[in-house]
Symmetry: D4
Subunit: 253 residues, 8 copies
């Protein structure tokens, strides 16, 4: 059902040419077709509070650049994850002022400060167990920053030298949300979860070798955390953690 | 190092019998022993905002009853998960007013309304895909209620009849957090995650047979959700979802 | 949005108290709430051509009996799978004429012949590799029969004695759909798939031991079938195979 | 037993040099040898209603070209899946008019309209959840088209924006078969399966990362679909889905 | 095609009512139907050199007894594996002289010495790593004995006390086949395989706990044996090992 | 080769009836047969420094009692793991003074103090993460005690309340070996491994549910520990940890 | 213990400088040292009836060439598996007459006919399901030929066109051993196993995609074969199958 | 809390400006911050007896060189594992005298003999099953040597030629620790564990193919070893084995 058909239906109904029950029936049988006139993007922004994010993996450089241009032209901030240097080159030509975050492999554009998201509840702390986990941690941090959150980073504070994380416990306890990124045995979220009374989002990474099975060991460890309040996202999914942390950090009226 | 040793050390330091550097050194070498005087329970309440919860599985009926009594005597609310009917009988003798939630298999005591947790940000909605998922959903719901949250339940609204969940989208969008409990293919959190702009906690259940592999299918589906903002807990971990949702629902000052 | 709210909205619109665009907007933002007045069961019958089937596992005897009674009272045929003997006793008291298929563990009521499903395209052949696979095969066969299909059974014709299935190739080739039920190495669907030019639905069973891993070996074999046209359902899911075969066997106008 | 031996046997029998029982015995002991004179291709076309399809993976460019030529020379339509650009170059030299479908990686030749397959029952709808799933979806679509079916494509309609698929529900309900292609959490077939009363073939893809385990998450989700009537093929097996859908869409007399 | 149809076809052909090519065509299109007159059992005995063995798991006591009686009545030796004590009681009533091998859980009847299988090539040695592996080892040993082979047992000679197996190396080297049964780490077949120049059949058992995963550890170890000539059967499949060893031990003319 | 044959060979050689090279050859070809005269038990005691330990699982009560009696009669200390209460009753009748350790499910007899094992290098500390892990921890502790080691227990000091283990760091650092027993996410060995400069033996337990997969999560975590010096044994293998710790704690001259 | 030490020991013993018991004791304590003088290669040839085979994977080109030269210089036939073209170039310079089997990736040298292995019991038949399985099948075939066996090849006779293998059943039944090589669903060994009364060695290959999991599907299928007498080797282990088949085909005196 | 803050706190306390209880409270709430003044490296050296080891994988060449320079400048020995040739070139420019161990892929600097680690208890023996396992074995050996241990290597002594390891049993029995490195079926540690009375550290390697699943087969085998006293590290973790062996070999006073 196109918008035109819908309009005709409405007119007919208003003019009394269709009965109440028949009109209801028509809507029941084809309840969703009427959405066709709303573009996906706008609907998403309304529905979820943040416009579409481009997941670049599996897209061509050209596709990324075109979608990026469209999003920016509509006045939305741009976040493109899993982006290569070459994709950035293509985007930069169409979106002046686009920035490339090399470690996180994210392209961004727009000023987070100017947005309604700045009325957040507090600070998001992003913790990484090792230096190799930093790319995933940065993906989370930059996503959260682009959604208007102040972010504090605590990197390379894994459990093998436990005092490193313990010495930061005050920062952790006063955060709004803590994102903990760890590979190998994935033990850090349990330690952090035991130190704080705020939500902890655990991100397993594929860092490790042998029986780490590309992040499976860390993933299972995090799912089985003995600390209550630990929530888990997919292996290497820094974006998802940053996005969810931002939702948690939004104020509810 | 007991509290007595610590006190002696302090006196010696204050009296100038120990040098600054030596005192620091002593603290450095044995930094954690001084925590011995804080009981685990109290420390946890301070640190995490909610006292200890009893995980009854693997404990004897007698152990459960004794711990329950201790928690209640200290003025804390009681939450005991994975509790059998028999454990409840034993607890009831020591804790007058204890209640048993048969479906959720939880023993509780204490009045959620009387607690500081009532100053929460909003409503927690607990959704279940099928009727068989209700016990896990109830574990989440009652945990959240005991932590002072208003909880709304939407049960048996799985994706095979998609209009069931769609017709509830307003309730979902206005929640503070949504907990989605689903077994089998675990598709419901993705649908809900696409409808709302609030954090979604996905709880896979072991409901299913054959290639559900006791919840593995649902767990993997939820971890791979194409909807941003979906956070996952362990299979059948209703308690963890309710606890984390409560942390999210707490106001940050 | 309840039906009442919807009706008010309609009246307001018809009376000109709401503008076209505002009315559209209201429908856009809450597009699915209006479905609330349709009961799940009826909607399903309209949408999918067969009323709800009761999956008894994880339901109480009382629940099964009540749902069964409701379905029959609405004039629908009854199919309840994974049903115990005791459930049957309870159903029989409420649904006179209910039958129990012990091997398939299915309760049925109603006459398949009297239904519009009898205008099917052809015969469904159900094949089992071993005698131990028969319960799953029967679940498929009875489901298909209850949906109005003529069903032919070929049991215990596994590949270790290949002439057993080869000698039946004419029957297989003239079927409308062939359902092949096999455990252990799950090789039979590939052989059948190579013999016929009709759709083959493969049902792995959990029959086997050791490295059969409760049907995983058979499931993987069937998914990797070198015969084109083999479709797979979950381990032990005889019902799903019978249901899908019935859909295939329905005439399209 | 070669064809010559067989002919001798026949002559001896007809001439009465061999008794009925001895002739039967001979056929029983060596029942299959007589098939040696039938080429595999012809037999397959008779048996299954469609000539051999070339699975190019693991074959040399030369082999692919030679087989393609043979098939076309016999008057059969050509379908070669998993074909590289280079293979196409080689085939084109031997088969004039061969076409290369770059996204689907299929080489075809021949006019589907001119074939007896055009007397199909209805339309096959191919749905993809994301844009990354399109290559597999195209493999299914082109296979079905080459087998004489009208195909309708609905791409990028995944569950995270549920209205996208809902707004197409009429198209889905009126199809003869629906093929649903999805990676990541593989939830789309369940949603589609709940909307329609026609057979749904679910194709998991290897799209995703981390705990998608190269399509395993989607595969398990589809096998555990709570919607009855969902049938599953191997990960990335677009061809298999298109082939099976064509068999379903064939009329039975 | 029944035997009657076949006979008519033959008569028509002999009488010249059917042409050579048409007769061939008929046989080509329905090549296997003519086997219908041979009973499965007899065919198997002819084809494989040993009559059917009853796999009792998943069969009722009554079914086992009936099949056992039929086999014995046809003059065949009886071997029924995975048989319970109760099944034996039922069989004994119908087959006088039936014996029950309690450890191996096998029912047998008939005298191996009286059979043509006694012309074997040599001795089969059955080795077990631990005492817990003996039931599976016995299943292999008794199967081999019932098929007419002399069997020598070497039990509890696992690798943790390596001299136990080394001191038996002469016996191993002079065997016709060696069956090695082991659970836990499944290392014994590799050691034996390195000591001898005869075929080694490795049988993993489900003995072990934790990361033995019910025989998976042993199974993988055996499949990866660095000793050439090690062949593997399913976990706990003593029967399969004994059967295959017997085939190896048969003389070829 | 029996001892008698060996003696004859020796006599022949000494008497010059066999040449040097022939004698060497004989030994080369049958190098291990000469060990036949040493009983397994004695050899093990010589070879490994501790007599045989009875693994009771899969043995009958009678077998356990008989082996226990034999070991004690030879003057060895008795350690029988995985022993039931009933096995203990049977052993007690034959071995006066046998003790049953109910939690660890171990039967022991003999005085560890009276043995040469008491000259150990230091103290073994056994740590458990939770109370549910205590049975496995006790199996380790009692095994180590029976092998003559002083053992210190630190139970219920898991990472969710990190100060519990930190406050014990001095005890851990001064141990000879630390055994860490943990289920669920298995994070504790990494924390302990980072605190100490002594060998750490990690024992995963099957404590947990859902995605703990009966100890797999903990096992993988321990194998991937970021703390150097962590060694792992099988899931629930307290005995193995206690035994290996004892070997480490033995002095080398 | 070097050979010199051993000789001294022998002299001392013969000269009466060591008592019988002391000599025995010395041999008991150090029973295996005396083997030091035998090179591994010679011992293996004696022990197992065929000299060392070079597994080239993980070896440098130089190492392969050197070992090949040594083996040939000692008069042994050369078999080097998993060999690259470049390795062959290097070997050819040192071993004149070396041949490279490109498909099987094997280097050989020496004349199988001239060896004692030619007194084999019969013919080895190597069967492959698809053309992609041929490299593994050739590895098996050439290994068997080099060990002196007559080999017959039946390639591309998979179960999807069942008459292809059935028409060869006589050849299969009269073989000494049948090796069946198959990827994807691995069904062929079950069909062959049901047709013959000789040992069947099943070789799973890594041919396939998606849920074939690099040969796991085929491996599991073969281990669960419902046909008795099927023995399995590692995925892609053509060499192992050819080697074991050769051992089976050796005559026992 | 920085060191400055801590000092102020101390002064305030000593001067009586803070009460005992308040000072304790301050320490309790932020117990670990005071460790901030100790650099990680020094603390680690104190805590664990060996300075930081560089794990080069996932680090840039520049990062490796800089960290190496810092470690050496502080007077520590240098061990950098998983190092490429290029990393070595970069390190050599900053650390004169750095050595590259090509097979083990380790960069070292410093003289093990000059260190307090030389007072070790005995000799560490490193055993490898095959030649392909040598890189991992060398990683273990060089790590142990750099920590001041005498190391003896026994390479290519796998179980398929069992006399190779048996002939070395005296060397094994007199070691302080034995490290056993093996891929494929991982059987060697069980054999060694049965021969000696000293701790055995088993290192699975990813050597193998097919069902070795990159070391999983060997890992599972080692975890299930029937020989008591076998301890396991991660797949290919030679460093971890060498490190742990060194800890075991340290004398305890």
């Amino acid at each position: 059902m196109t918008r035109d058909h819908l309009k005709t239906l409405l007119q007919d109904f208003k003019a009394g040419r269709i009965q109440d029950e028949d009109f209801l029936e028509a809507l029941t049988i084809t309840p969703f077709e009427m959405l066709g006139f709303a573009t996906v993007d706008h609907h998403r922004a309304l529905r979820q509070g943040f416009p579409e994010v481009i997941f670049c993996a599996g897209k061509t450089t050209q596709q990324v650049a075109t979608i990026a241009e469209t999003i920016v032209r509509q006045g939305h901030p741009l976040v493109a994850t899993h982006a290569s240097q070459r994709m950035y080159q293509a985007v930069k030509k169409k979106v002046s002022g686009a920035k490339y975050h090399r470690v996180a492999r994210i392209i961004t554009s727009g000023n987070p400060q100017s947005r309604r998201y700045q009325k957040v509840r507090g600070r998001i702390v992003v913790v990484s167990a090792g230096t190799s986990d930093i790319p995933v941690a940065e993906e989370a941090a930059i996503t959260a920053e682009m959604m208007g959150n102040p972010v504090e980073r605590l990197y390379d504070v894994g459990v093998a030298g436990i005092h490193r994380i313990l010495s930061q416990s005050r920062k952790l306890r006063t955060a709004s949300v803590v994102i903990v990124v760890a590979g190998m045995e994935g033990a850090l979220p349990s330690v952090v979860g035991g130190l704080v009374g705020v939500p902890v989002i655990a991100v397993p990474t594929s860092i490790g070798y042998g029986a780490s099975y590309r992040g499976l060991a860390a993933l299972l460890a995090m799912l089985n955390s003995c600390a209550a309040g630990v929530l888990v996202v997919n292996v290497d999914n820094g974006f998802g953690a940053g996005y969810a942390a931002s939702l948690i950090n939004l104020p509810r009226v």
